[in-house]
Amino acid sequence: MQQVGPESLLSLEAVSIGVAGQPGVELVHDINFRVTRGEAIGIVGESGSGKSLTALSVAGLLPAGLSVTSGRIVFDDRVISEFSERDLHRLRGKEISYVFQDPLAALNPTLTIGRQMIDVLKRHVGGSRETLRRRAVDGLASVGIQEPESRLRSYPHQFSGGMRQRVLIAMATLCSPKLLIADEPTTALDVTVQANIIDLFRAIRRTGISLIFISHNIDVVLEFCDRVLVLYGGRVMEIGTVEEIGLRPQHPYTRALLECVPRLGTQLDRLRAIEGQPPLPGSQPPGCPFAQRCPRVISRCRNERPPASYASETHMFECWNPADTVLTARAS
């Protein structure tokens, strides 16, 4: 299943993330997945599921005190989980870009957008000041910002939330990275703005950039990703293509997530929730982490961790009692 072929861009092999110096405490356990060139993979989970930590570990941006405690991360045939900070520094911005969740916090409020973009370009790309400026203008235009020339001189607070997000995306794509990681980029945005940002990501994908898209809303991920990874309690619950996850979800958690998103279909009845709360990061119950909240729980679930099962070559899930249904596709 995990053949590392020539088109594999990123591969996480049995990656665990924990607190350095505290061997028992693990926040993310045994993550395995692969991203091929040009592919978009969505990581879905609730708060505390470990999705952000997983993404941060790829970019080498784990907060102080946390580190990859086992396994390895291979990017473009290089084992970046063992890279020094200096090498990671060279990688970031140029080959791997990260779009953070809160655009206002991610942008320096005292510098103009143009200045911040040119700073990024200067570090990774050479050229005269004019060339860099031209490139920044193109970058802003490519994300749909009107009058990019004059907007270079604007400050972050002069943009609306959606536009700030676009600016972040522009900055992330400036150096034509191989991999773009977006952490909840649409969460704080209005629905129409969200739709536009999703279109923007589709356009970015068409340029061949690989994408890791993190969200707690599974529908957003299903809109435009190729494959989906479902995390809970720091573990992979299910991974598969968008069709497999969307139409043939095996894991009860995946099904529950799908049920939770309100749809504007014919029946506007009561909203579904997953009762209870996700486990605290670092807690490690003996069996399946979802056992406490699972509607299909059997006694085995609480004591033994389920092994990896495969519904197809691309579809893996870990469950003792999977739901066995095929769902009707929406008439398009």
């Binding site: 926040l27 708060s47 505390g48 599921s49 470990g50 952000s52 930590l53 941060l56 907060p63 005190g65 990061p281």
Partner: protein
């Protein structure tokens, strides 16, 4: 723990200095005012660990008693500055856009624009040194200094409070409580104050160090604590005449005491801020 090592050092230093001052009657080996003209200007030795000054008084005892003097004035001044500054800052920030706010803030501006020492010197120059009597109340040296130095801290502390208050009064929790009918007094002191205090407190801690230096400076020029009462500033003033003639200990020990105290307060600053934040601990925002 490692992060706070400097803070812990600061606290340790401070505790030693403070305790020495507080327990002065028991810790000091001799009476700081006792003259012993027979052993004037003796260098540090077994009987006099810090040596003696020009009047034969034991320097160690004077430094210890001086700590009491200097620290009580410094703490008193900052306490006063906090009490007045924070209250005014809260009111100004809460009542933004009103005449009251303008009066308070512009007063702060005026006071702030005058350098601290100049202000203090001018005021003491006017009032005079030594105890003064206003009607039935006798205001001693110490009280005067506390009032003066405290007054000069008020604008800075008030401004910090004002800034935080502006931010906090707009938050939802204040809005919610106001909507439920709370009085402005309750909003200001029960809700906003606890959120505004930490940065001010850290600033105030740094000011204690400043107060020590100001008091020492004033005493040095004769406008502060009057001799023969031991204060580090007066001791330095006395030492002026002896720095170059070889009696180095008369200046060194009080000077060292001032240094250590001020450094200790600065070191404590960061640790104090962390201690006051209920959110200290592992931040889980990244998961």
């Amino acid at each position: 723990m490692r992060r706070h090592s400097s803070g812990i050092l600061g606290i340790a230093l401070l505790a030693s200095v403070g305790l020495a001052g507080a327990l002065a009657p028991y810790v000091a080996p001799m009476d700081p005012l006792e003259l012993d003209l027979g052993s004037r200007l003796t260098a540090p030795e077994a009987g006099h660990l810090f040596g003696t000054d020009q009047a034969g008084r034991d320097l160690l005892s004077r430094v210890i008693w001086g700590s009491r003097e200097s620290l009580s004035i410094a703490f008193g001044a900052v306490a006063l500055g906090l009490a007045v500054g924070v209250t005014l800052g809260l009111i100004a920030g809460f009542r933004q856009g009103t005449v009251l706010e303008t009066i308070i803030m512009r007063t702060f501006d005026v006071l702030f624009s005058i350098p601290l020492l100049v202000l203090a010197i001018a005021l003491i120059g006017i009032i005079g040194t030594g105890p003064i009597t206003i009607g039935p109340i006798t205001v001693g040296d110490q009280a005067k200094l506390i009032a003066l130095i405290g007054l000069s801290f008020t604008p800075a502390l008030g401004r910090v409070t004002y800034g935080s208050t502006l931010v906090e009064s707009r938050s939802d929790y204040v809005r919610a409580k106001r909507a439920q009918g709370a009085s402005w007094v309750e909003l200001l002191f029960l809700e906003i104050l606890p959120n505004v205090v930490p940065p001010v407190l850290v600033q105030a801690t740094l000011f204690i160090g400043v107060a020590v230096i100001v008091e020492a400076s004033l005493s040095f020029v004769g406008l502060g604590v009057q001799p023969p009462a031991p204060s580090w500033g007066t001791m330095l003033a006395d030492a002026r005449n002896y720095i170059f003639s070889g009696e180095w200990w008369i200046a060194l020990f009080p000077g060292l005491a001032i240094c250590i105290t001020v450094v200790a307060f600065n070191l404590m600053g960061d640790t104090l801020r962390d201690l006051l934040d209920p959110r200290a601990g592992i931040r889980s925002g990244f998961i």
